[in-house]
């Protein structure tokens, strides 16, 4: 997608959000009508005006054909995102150590690192550091199955 179109779509979403935000303030109860509601209306109007101005400027001045590129390597980017999602899902049921022991080497491998010993030592180092510094020294509570 071209950058300018992505930007215009995003601005349109913000304008729609501003309209919905403004309308939602009608439901604010009691004292909020003369306080918070006014503040929220101000924000809604302000962002809508700014977005309209940006949209106008963009339409007049932006004739670029640049493509919106979120990443130079889609496979690695999506793998990291997916890995993060799975890490978060597994965080409580498996615990930090077990999920971390899978996440760190797996992502390292996916990102192209091919030295299992270094990956293993790095993972062990990170988990050991977390245990020694955060759990023992700083008393941070971590969830799930403890392997230490």
């Amino acid at each position: 997608m071209q950058k300018k179109w992505a930007d215009r779509a995003l601005l349109a979403v913000f304008i729609l959000m501003a309209v919905l935000l403004y309308r939602s303030t009608a439901d604010y109860p009691g004292i909020a009508q003369s306080t918070s509601a006014k503040y929220v209306r101000f924000l809604a109007v302000f962002i809508a005006v700014l977005c309209l101005a940006q949209l106008g400027f963009g339409l007049v001045r932006d004739h670029g054909r640049d493509i919106l590129v979120l990443t130079g390597n889609r496979r690695r980017f999506l793998a990291l995102l997916l890995g993060l999602g799975l890490f978060a899902i597994a965080f409580e049921p498996l615990g930090f150590y077990l999920s971390g022991a899978i996440f760190i080497p797996a992502i390292g491998w996916i990102l192209g690192y091919r030295r299992p010993l270094v990956l293993g030592l790095t993972t062990a180092g990170v988990l050991g550091f977390v245990y020694a510094v955060f759990v023992q020294l700083l008393s941070v509570r971590l969830p799930g199955i403890e392997i230490f």
């Binding site: 930007d7 995003l10 601005l11 913000f14 935000l21 939602s24 604010y28 109860p29 009691g30 004292i31 909020a32 003369s34 306080t35 918070s36 006014k38 503040y39 929220v40 924000l43 962002i47 700014l50 101005a53 940006q54 001045r61 919106l68 590129v69 979120l70 990443t71 130079g72 889609r74 690695r76 980017f77 793998a79 990291l80 995102l81 890995g83 993060l84 890490f87 978060a88 965080f91 409580e92 996440f103 760190i104 080497p105 797996a106 992502i107 390292g108 990102l111 192209g112 690192y113 270094v118 990956l119 990170v126 510094v133 955060f134 700083l138 008393s139 941070v140 509570r141 971590l142 969830p143």
Partner: protein, 494 residues
């Protein structure tokens, strides 16, 4: 004396040393920034003694600001964005076999800039904080507006003024999610219990400033660093005469820029660098390896450290994104920025400020003796760095509230923030809006109640009038230069 005793206790000194050393190492890794390091570690200081936790973070801030210059000089790879100007002069010097002089100039200038700015912080912060006692809700609202005026100065060639403002207001809109303080009713929580207290600042910060960088690094096509300068024979030299002038220029400029809300170390470094170029007698050497440029840029970016903390701890308006992260640390320890920090919490605040002097001394020693070895940190492959930092990002997001929801929030902010960044919206403005939103809303709502619905309360007091003048003074110059820029671009186009 009592505060000095706290700072110079063995545990405190060890904490500061670890913080500053880790800061230099983190700053030396391209892709890792001071904001990211401080943001990641804030949740973990929750269980620490508050003074120790703050000293650790302060050490990281000071160390990371300097650390970025080492790979900039030796590998032409700035460790942090604030070290880009340093690379322009430092790397040609390394290639010419003058790396020791470049490294020495950089660390001494960083020390000078950092120490000067902390001295200014120590001198002015208590005075400014006392003025905050006279602030009512109307003035608090205006204070938030002043912070937002800083958003305009965040705008640069990558993020336009309008887009910086949109990002700032978006941050303020995100901040209204949660319970309405006035009526106690829920707003835009979508039935999620986790949102009743609003969007937590820390997952947002970690997502926007740590995870985004990891997503970008993971997607980089290649990671090649020129190590030829490391292998080259280098000669030792004394600091050139008159270099102190450029350090002084950078220290003053950096401190002043740091005090302005929204302005960061990168801008401070470039402005200091450009000023030094203007007054230099050897202008022709700029770009080819001039230590004067390194001195000004490094004193400039380290000058931001103390400067950025002045509005942060006195008025609750963070000077830049690292200061915003540090403010998060103050808040989680129950230390709300303002006069209380210098009275009720003086035994934590003053040791923290004094510890910054020590941190500057630590990185001076580290830089003078170990800088060439530390440059190798920049060679850590992204494939190792990314999963490790990502794991800490997940852990840091979780640790503050023991909430998996905060991890999802962090990932959402990273992804959303990446799209915004690629489209030219300022993430600094977004985070500033997120911080200032609740302050602005609280001041506005209470002001409206006191003023019985009349907005004149925001213009009534003398302090309010002075604040309006400051807000206008902050707004007019960037708006004028923006108008000139648009006008010029319009003429060129047609």
């Amino acid at each position: 004396m009592e505060y000095l005793a706290i700072v110079f206790s063995p545990w405190a000194l060890l904490t500061i040393f670890i913080g500053a050393f880790a800061g230099v190492a983190i700053g030396g890794m391209p892709g890792l920034t001071a904001t990211m390091a401080v943001g990641l570690l804030v949740p973990f200081t929750y269980t620490m003694d508050p003074a120790m936790g703050l000293m650790l973070l302060g050490g990281i801030y000071a160390g990371a600001m300097y650390g970025g210059s080492i790979p900039a000089i030796l590998l032409n790879t700035p460790g942090t964005p604030a070290a880009v100007a340093t690379a322009i002069e430092g790397y040609p010097m390394s290639r010419a076999g003058r790396a020791p002089l470049a490294l020495k100039t950089s660390v001494i200038a960083s020390f000078a800039g950092g120490t000067f700015s902390v001295f200014i912080l120590l001198l002015f912060a208590p005075f400014l904080a006392r003025q905050a006692l006279a602030f009512g809700p109307a003035e608090t609202f205006l204070l938030a507006l002043m912070g937002l005026a800083g958003i305009i100065s965040i705008a640069d060639e990558k993020s336009s003024l309008l887009k910086a403002l949109i990002a700032g207001v978006l941050g303020m809109i995100i901040a209204i999610i949660g319970t309405d303080d006035m009526s106690g009713s829920l707003r835009y929580t979508m039935g999620l219990v986790e949102l009743y207290d609003g969007i937590d600042f820390m997952p947002a910060l970690i997502g926007l400033f740590s995870m985004i960088q990891m997503l970008e690094l993971a997607g980089q096509k290649s990671h090649q660093i020129d190590t030829s300068a490391l292998k080259k024979k280098q000669k030792g030299e004394k600091l050139p005469r008159g270099i102190g002038k450029y350090m002084g220029l950078g220290a003053g400029t950096g401190t002043l820029i740091g005090i302005l809300p929204g302005e960061g170390a990168t801008i401070a470094a470039f402005i200091s660098y450009n000023l030094s170029k203007r007054i230099s007698k050897t202008k022709e050497l700029f770009g080819k390896g001039n230590p004067e440029g390194i001195a000004a840029a490094e004193a400039g970016n380290n000058g931001c450290v103390g400067g950025s903390l002045v509005p942060t701890i006195t008025l609750g308006i963070p000077g830049n994104s690292v200061a915003a992260a540090l403010m998060g640390a103050f808040i989680i320890h129950g230390m709300i920025p303002g006069p209380d920090l210098f009275t009720e919490y003086a035994d934590r605040t003053y040791p923290f400020i004094i510890s910054l002097f020590v941190a500057n001394g630590v990185f001076l020693a580290v830089g003078l003796f170990f800088a060439p070895y530390l440059a190798r940190i920049a060679l850590v492959p992204p494939a190792i760095m990314v999963p490790v930092v990502a794991a800490f990002a997940v852990l840091g997001s979780y640790a503050l509230n023991n909430s998996v929801f905060d991890i999802y929030l962090m990932i959402a902010f990273a992804l959303g923030g990446l799209v915004l960044k690629k489209l030219g919206y300022s993430l600094e403005a977004l985070i500033l809006g997120l911080i200032l939103g609740p302050i602005a809303e609280g001041g506005f709502s209470q002001g409206m109640i006191i003023g019985k619905g009349s907005p004149w309360i925001f213009f009534d007091s003398n302090i309010a009038k002075v604040m309006w003048v400051i807000i206008l003074a902050l707004l007019v110059p960037p708006l004028y230069s923006y108008w000139k820029h648009v006008h010029k671009a319009g003429k060129a186009a047609g």
